[in-house]
């Protein structure tokens, strides 16, 4: 790292804060808009999680006025975290980083890009307006008939909001696919593309193919609620499993929409911070596609307790198969850091934390695929634990890794490493002790989505709640770090991590056109350790930081 002595002199002009509040078609502005909006929703959803854990401190219903209030709380928690935090957060990093990694001047469709972002605030308002009527309380999965015949108007607003977010996601994804396929420099073949781009490509393919099913499901839900149709009302000849099929055909792939970009981030961060090429680059890229493909064939494992018994077996098999490409990634990452020169930066710590935690989510994923065992733990805290290991231990850890890794590029300033490490410790242990015990209460007999439980689980729940508060507290550290570093952080220079991918071959933050002329990518995005790479890095350093780099 090469912090400049003189902060002001070396600083590159960056967008004014007011630029972020306006309509802009610049992918870097839109990326930050996505990121800040998503993080605000993360805080809202996190606060809801804290209230959930506060309610569960005792076995009785005491904090909430009714079970319904609790139900709407976790419904909103899930909806916000999935549709308003993780998915937009990956759009944030995808937007900022992908065109830069491709050496492109912008996304393929800048206007569409901005439009996709600006759909999110009104959609969020629509979903949250539910709190002024009867908020949605059927869980984020909104199973009818609970969500049709037995829910208030908030459920209608929820469906409308989710509809808008789905459309936003489709538009964003079309944009990513076209950008990645069409806008690479001629030297960058698909097999020389950074792995984040591979992951975003796979994610976007899933999103464009699956999200229309969500649109279909939500349309039927709205018709049942508003127009009096009976698609999901058995008394009118409808079928409640129809919703489950269409909804999960989107929502299971949506899990991969949420975690695949994180896997792309891991490949970047692990390679750069251990100064070693990604092990088995092609297999890592292909396994993203493998996960995307197999991910479309597993949806009914969410219906193991409702599907006709004879249809359950095929879905058990496909679900287990998906462990194979996931395992390839995990082993390739281990191969990447093995024998490297690991720098324990905050980004690297979160990447290592991802590997350490995500593997637990992967193992419990295979356990849940085993049908006879799943029957016991289906819809229990075991499942809650499993998907938090995937979506928090996976996605959120990767989001933090990406934040620490690309913050210098986004703002031109370094994050505070000491605070980053404290943040990591609180997050890692807070997370582990929040979610690991949930496996046990789930197996012992505690179903999910309950505000009251039998007193014998109280001690476990208090351990979980206490750890959750620690985890919640850790968020304040990173918020403080981001704000402080934005103003006071050391100047980053163009390439503080000495990375080979193209986003580092321009100033931090990059100028509006990203690159002065057409950048030529280094032949191997992860070719660390060669003389040629060292020469390339020296050239980049001289070109952008001149003598002020203070080597």
């Amino acid at each position: 790292m090469a912090p400049a002595e003189n902060h002001e002199a070396a600083a590159v002009a960056r967008p004014a804060l007011s630029d972020y509040l306006r309509w802009s078609v610049d992918h870097k502005i839109i990326g930050v808009q996505y990121g800040v909006a998503a993080f605000l929703f993360f805080i809202v959803g996190g606060a809801m999680a804290m209230l959930i854990r506060l309610e569960l401190w005792t076995p009785a219903l005491d904090l909430m006025v009714s079970g319904s209030a609790y139900n709407s709380l976790f419904t909103m928690h899930g909806t916000i975290m999935i549709f308003l935090f993780i998915i937009p957060m990956w759009a944030a990093f995808g937007n900022f980083v992908v065109p830069l990694q491709l050496g492109a001047k912008d996304m393929a469709f800048p206007w569409l890009n901005a439009f996709a972002f600006w759909l999110i605030p009104p959609a969020a308002v629509v979903v949250l307006l539910g709190y002024f009527v009867n908020p949605a309380e059927a869980g984020w999965t909104a199973y009818p008939p609970l969500s049709t015949l037995f829910s208030g108007d908030g459920q209608t607003l929820w469906a409308l909001g989710a509809h808008l977010l789905g459309i936003s996601s489709i538009m964003g994804s079309i944009n990513f696919i076209v950008t990645i396929l069409n806008m690479r420099p001629p030297q960058m073949t698909l097999w020389r593309m950074p792995l984040l781009c591979w992951a975003v490509l796979a994610t976007s393919i899933i999103a464009v193919m699956a999200t229309p099913f969500l649109a279909g499901a939500l349309t039927l839900l709205l018709l049942d609620r508003v127009a009096g149709t009976t698609f999901f009302d058995a008394a009118g000849g409808g079928d409640v499993l129809l919703w489950q099929n269409i909804f999960w055909f989107y929502s299971h792939p949506a899990v991969y929409i949420m975690v695949l970009p994180g896997m792309g981030v891991l490949s970047e961060v692990l390679s750069v911070h251990s100064r070693k090429p990604v092990f088995g680059y092609r297999m890592v890229g292909l396994s993203s596609m493998g996960i995307a493909f197999v991910g479309f064939t597993v949806w009914a494992h969410h219906m193991f307790t409702s599907l006709q018994p004879e249809l359950r077996i095929p879905f058990m098999i496909t679900t287990m198969i998906i462990a194979v490409p996931t395992g390839i990634k995990m082993f390739s990452w281990l191969g990447t850091i093995w024998g490297g020169k690991i720098r324990f930066t905050s980004a690297m710590l979160f990447a290592l934390g991802f590997m350490s935690m995500f593997v637990i989510g992967g193992i419990t994923g295979v356990m849940l695929a085993a049908l006879p065992f799943d029957i016991h733990v289906h819809d229990t805290y075991f499942v809650v634990s499993h998907f938090h290991f995937v979506l928090f231990g996976g996605s959120v850890f990767a989001i933090y890794a990406a934040l620490y890794h690309w913050f210098p590029k986004i703002t031109g300033r370094m994050m505070n490493e000491r605070l980053g490490k404290i943040h990591f410790l609180f997050t890692y242990f807070g997370f582990l002790f929040t979610f690991f015990p949930m496996h046990i209460v789930g197996m012992l007999g505690m179903p999910r989505r309950v505000a009251v439980y039998v007193p014998e689980f109280q001690l476990w729940n208090q351990v979980i709640s206490f750890s959750a508060f620690v985890l919640g507290f850790s968020t304040f550290i990173v918020i403080y770090n981001v704000i402080r570093s934005y103003y006071r952080g050391p100047i980053a220079g163009a390439n503080p991590w000495r990375a080979l991918t193209l986003e580092w071959a321009t100033t931090s933050p990059p100028p509006p056109t990203n690159f002065d002329d057409d950048p030529i990518p280094y032949e191997d995005p992860y070719g660390y350790g060669t003389e040629a790479a060292a020469v390339y890095l020296a050239v980049v350093e001289r070109a952008f930081d001149g003598d002020s780099s203070g080597r």
Binding site: P145, Y281, V324, G335, I342, H376, G445, V450, A533
Partner: protein, 434 residues
């Protein structure tokens, strides 16, 4: 530099030793860890639970090895491959190893195929239809479970007839009675939303799916066979839990499985007394009403202190007799109470959102079938819930049947208990209260 590309990253002997020790320890540790499996699972109270737990143990062993392998390699990397001090060197330019990549594709693939096969075996073994289901007294009887927000109701079609030729159906409320070795097969049917019938100790779970009542609903089945649990005192009880979000009271939608030690215990402690009670109901309508009202799912929504009910989904029944007469102009208290049970769609107390379930002589859900006699008894019981009852206490025995006749045009044949005793006690029923 070109050489550098081909070099396998050098591994220090220390790392090899640490790795070997670590793997050994992890294998032993995982094996030792499986001794804790029973601690994180409920009692093994069914034949199915044993094979499920064995499968889980295998999953824990394989998962444990994967877990320790990966965490161990992470730990070794973190300890041995860190850049020291201000080192600015890069690691070796090692791009991969096709053999290794094939190995770590094939081995996990083989492992998941193995897991799929053993899971499939456990599944087919557990879901095989069994002979002699619900065997009671040498006969197979039908046991139905009805789920309604937020209570379970279990009904046993005994196959016997009362002296009047009416089939005897035992309604045991939220409790399922069974005995060790009985091949239980429950027919599940929901009255409203999706519920999920879960008995953790039996490792079974099945959703209840709303179906079209006109075409016989959408029954689902669940099967298990209780077995003896070492150290358990019989009759043993295990919880029944609703595992699918069903609304406000989802968390308190629970029930109990009572496992009797053997069939004769089951018959003696539950089955025969229940049939006797149906054949010989208390002559006093109020006493009978107190029994009848507890057969139904009223407690899932209503509060009634005398019976220790505390749900707040529906209006409280405390002091209902004081208010019933003022609800609808021109309607007596008896009429109002009878009507709000049998024709529940007609009323909704202001401030409450949910519609009460339907009860009556010919409703779809067998758990909610309620004869005129039962209605009479329940109205008589509810008429005692209040300080200065609006009900016609003096002439209850005629006022309530008259009310039922007025609103439903149905003649209530007051025939409680046997013979003259019924007529005698019916006369004094109105005056009695708890």
């Amino acid at each position: 530099m070109e050489d550098n590309r081909r070099n396998f990253p050098s591994i220090s002997p220390a790392a090899v030793v640490v790795a070997a020790v670590f793997l050994l320890v992890s294998a032993l540790g995982t094996y030792w860890f499986t001794t804790f499996v029973p601690l994180v699972l409920p009692a093994q109270a069914s034949a199915e639970s044993k094979s499920v737990d064995e499968l889980f143990t295998i999953l824990v062993i394989i998962g444990g090895v994967v877990f320790f392998l990966i965490q161990g390699m992470l730990l070794i990397s973190v300890l041995f491959f860190r850049a020291r001090g201000e080192e600015r060197n890069d690691g070796p330019t090692y791009h991969g190893n096709p053999l290794l990549e094939i190995v770590w594709t094939i081995i996990p693939a083989m492992v998941v195929v193995f897991l799929a096969v053993i899971s499939f075996n456990v599944w087919t073994q557990n879901s095989e239809p069994k002979a002699a289901v619900n065997h009671v007294n040498g006969e197979e009887i039908a046991i139905e479970v009805s789920g309604a927000r937020y209570a379970w109701t279990h009904t046993y079609a005994t196959g016997r007839l009362s002296p009047d030729g009416v089939p005897i159906v035992i309604n045991s409320g939220d409790t399922l009675h069974t005995y060790i070795g009985q091949n239980v097969e429950l027919i599940l049917q929901t009255q409203d939303v999706i519920h999920s019938y879960w008995v953790p100790a039996m490792r079974v779970k099945q959703d209840l799916l709303p179906g079209n009542p006109a075409t016989g609903g959408r029954p689902t089945e669940i099967r298990f066979t209780p077995v003896r649990v070492e150290g358990e005192l019989y009759p043993a009880t295990y919880p029944i839990v609703c595992a699918e979000l069903c609304g406000d009271g989802h968390g308190r939608m629970r029930g109990t499985v009572v496992v009797h030690e053997n069939e004769s215990q089951f018959l003696e402690a539950f089955y025969e007394p229940a049939i006797y009670a149906i054949l010989n109901p208390p002559a006093d309508p109020v006493l009978r009403g107190e029994i009848e009202i507890q057969r139904y799912i009223c407690n899932s929504c209503h509060t009634l202190d005398s019976l220790e009910w505390s749900s707040r989904t529906g209006p409280s029944l405390n002091g209902i007799a004081d208010r019933a007469g003022e609800r609808v102009a021109g309607q007596s208290a008896e009429e109002y109470i009878a009507l709000s049970i049998w024709n529940s769609g007609a009323f909704r107390v202001p401030g409450y959102n949910e519609q009460m379930a339907a009860f009556g002589p010919d409703v779809m859900e067998s758990a909610n079938i309620m004869s005129p006699e039962q209605l009479y008894a329940i109205v008589a019981y509810l008429c005692t819930q209040g300080e200065q009852s609006d009900c016609d206490q003096e002439n209850a025995s005629s006022a309530i049947p008259e009310a039922i006749e007025t609103v439903f045009g149905m003649q209530v044949d007051i025939n409680f208990g046997q013979g003259d005793a019924a007529a005698d006690s019916a006369d004094e029923a109105g005056g009695e209260s708890e």
